[in-house]
């Protein structure tokens, strides 16, 4: 069965600092991997996705993620966070109709 682990429930970073959110997955074949962001009171918005090809994928809002098959990881990174990046971030894996989500990482930004 497919599964996603986001080991960090809550992360706090200073504005302007770099960010890395961890995601590990379990999937029987080549996975489709996603990162979504959920701002308070909002629906989920797709940040980026990996299907195949280049293992470093670029997304919206300056985010990127790297697929590492050997580590079953798909970590999300941003070189310099902005206060508006404060939100809940979800990693997801899927290969067909159903996406399986992690439990999310809440990101707090301090001035």
């Amino acid at each position: 069965a497919q599964s996603v682990t986001q080991p960090d429930i809550h992360i706090t970073v200073s504005e302007g600092a770099s960010l890395e959110l961890r995601c590990n997955y379990s999937y029987g074949a080549t996975p489709y991997l996603f990162w979504y962001v959920q701002s308070p009171g909002q629906g989920l918005q797709l940040l980026l996705k990996y299907f195949s090809g280049d293992t470093l994928v670029q997304g919206i809002k300056g985010f990127e993620a790297e697929f590492k098959r050997s580590q079953s990881s798909f970590n999300l990174r941003k070189p310099s966070v902005h206060w508006s990046d404060a939100a809940e971030y979800f990693c997801a894996v899927g290969g067909g109709e159903k996406l399986t989500f992690g439990t999310g990482t809440r990101l707090t930004i301090i001035p």
Partner: protein
């Protein structure tokens, strides 16, 4: 409409009552999904529609939960005899196709509170 619309945005009900949650997907999207987001949990898959049929109902937590979709458009998620553990945000998403979840668009959700 411009996006996935869910109604109501908030619903407070008493234990034992039935509730209906509605989802209006983006026009032309053939695939529709229901997820549940409980406090401190990830998104839990409930059910998926392709057109009006539901090939995957594996996530429905009990027989108190049911869903239908009519005209390949609007979907209703019904919870009968609600329990306090049903309290959660229920999210709907739609997609132009079912193949890869590539273009999954989420609504803002219905916050259900069972007292």
């Amino acid at each position: 409409g411009a996006g996935v619309s869910q109604s109501p945005s908030n619903k407070v009900t008493e234990k034992g009552k039935d509730v209906e949650l509605r989802c209006d997907p983006i026009s032309g999207h053939t695939a529709l999904y229901w997820y549940r987001q409980s406090l401190g949990q990830g998104l839990e898959f409930l059910i998926y529609f392709q057109g009006n049929s539901a090939p995957d109902k594996s996530g429905l937590p009990s027989d108190r939960f049911s869903a239908e979709r009519t005209g390949g458009s609007v979907s209703t998620l019904t919870i009968q005899r609600t329990q306090q553990e049903d309290s959660a945000v229920y999210l709907c998403a739609s997609s132009p196709d079912r193949a890869t979840n590539e273009k999954l668009f989420f609504g803002s959700g219905t916050q259900l509170s069972v007292l």
